[in-house]
Amino acid sequence: MSHDFRELAEQYAGPVFTYVRYSLRHQEDAEDITQEVLVRLWKHHAHIDPSRMRAWVMQVARNLVIDSTRRRRARATVFDAVPVADTLAAPAPGTPETETERRELREVLEEAIAELAEPQRSIVVMREIQGLSYEEIASGLNMPLGTIKVYLHRARRKLREAVQKELGHNVTE
């Protein structure tokens, strides 16, 4: 059991965790959801078409993210404290101004990604962060390739608008 489970975990845990981590921006919640997805995957994997397993896994992760977001909104009305990202990637070396700008830009982008609706968020994470091809995303999300591109264009535009709104026109090449 352990060997098979480890194989499944190796294949899916990373993508799921990255997606959930960017969706919720909360380390512990992301770990909990990853754990839950793995348990459910193990429970049902014998009945899932292997070619659809990634889509199945991402669907379960998305549903759990939606549930978690609802719970966190309910909690936020009481505690008003949603943890922010604590593991931003270290910026590339540069002048202090450049580093500060990049950190701000990344912060705005992470927030904007978390604010995207589904399936735009999944597509952005899979394409821009995980570097999957359009074909892999279309297969993984069980959507036509053209639809994936349309969603991705819209998502990128929203991200751009969020950066403009938060940082103005100072952020350019």
Binding site: M1, S2, F5, R6, A9, A13, G14, V16, F17, T18, R21, Y22, A30, E31, D32, T34, Q35, E36, L38, V39, W42, K43, T87, A89, A92, R102, L105, R106, L109, E110, V124, E128, I129, Q130, G131, K149, L152, H153, R156, R157, L159, R160, V163, Q164, H169, V171, T172, E173
Partner: protein
């Protein structure tokens, strides 16, 4: 939607397709010409490039090993844990009922043995009442055991106590009966014996 080279909105709608290399040659030229003469759209194009560039440097997070290990523990525990959904199972219930019956019978027997036949300290009605109270007490034990089992089960479903449950299940049910229930029965027998043999205050 086709590109309108005179509309900033249309140009901005097509910036992503342009950067993806999906526009035909004419549309590419139209977009580039527009951006050469429109500072706002040129900034938009520049920003789109910068956002893409930055997005691709965002980190991929490897799943923490503890999340995988926790999932593995839960899977293993789910193969072992078979807690009752609604209280003790039939066998356990039968054991509890039998234990209650033994306690009642023992207390009645001990009570009658310790009294001299000619001068009984308690009437049959009082013994019946005590027996009833004892049965009632065991009823409560049964009921709250069932509730406790439900709480534990729900917690397992909530995935909060699986590791502890896993450890607890290493103890056999027979051992639980020997270590917890039998001493409890013995204590109950001793208590009921002393209750029956010692006169209650205010009675002669």
């Amino acid at each position: 939607m086709s590109l309108n080279k005179n509309s900033c909105e249309s140009i901005r709608e097509h910036i992503e397709a342009y950067l993806d290399g999906e526009l035909d040659r004419n549309d590419c030229v139209a977009l580039e010409t527009h951006c050469a003469s429109c500072a706002a759209c040129a900034r938009e194009l520049s920003l789109a490039r910068r956002v893409r560039e930055e997005l691709r440097t965002l980190p991929v997070f490897p799943a923490p090993a503890r999340a995988i290990a926790a999932a593995e523990r839960r899977i293993h525990a789910s193969k072992v844990v078979r807690l009752p959904v609604r209280g003790p199972n039939r066998r356990m219930r039968a054991v509890l009922v039998a234990a209650a019956a033994v306690v009642v019978a023992a207390s009645v027997w001990l009570g009658t043995r310790s009294r001299t036949p000619s001068t009984p300290q308690y009437s049959e009605a009082e013994i019946r009442q005590a027996t009833g109270e004892l049965a009632l007490a065991f009823g409560y034990v049964d009921r709250y055991s069932a509730q406790a089992a439900n709480i534990i089960h729900n917690d397992v479903l909530e995935q909060r106590v699986a590791p502890q449950i896993e450890r607890a299940l290493n103890t056999s049910r027979e051992a639980v009966i020997d270590d917890a229930i039998v001493p409890g029965i013995r204590r109950a027998v001793r208590d009921s014996d002393s209750n029956v043999t010692s006169p209650r205050p205010g009675r002669s």
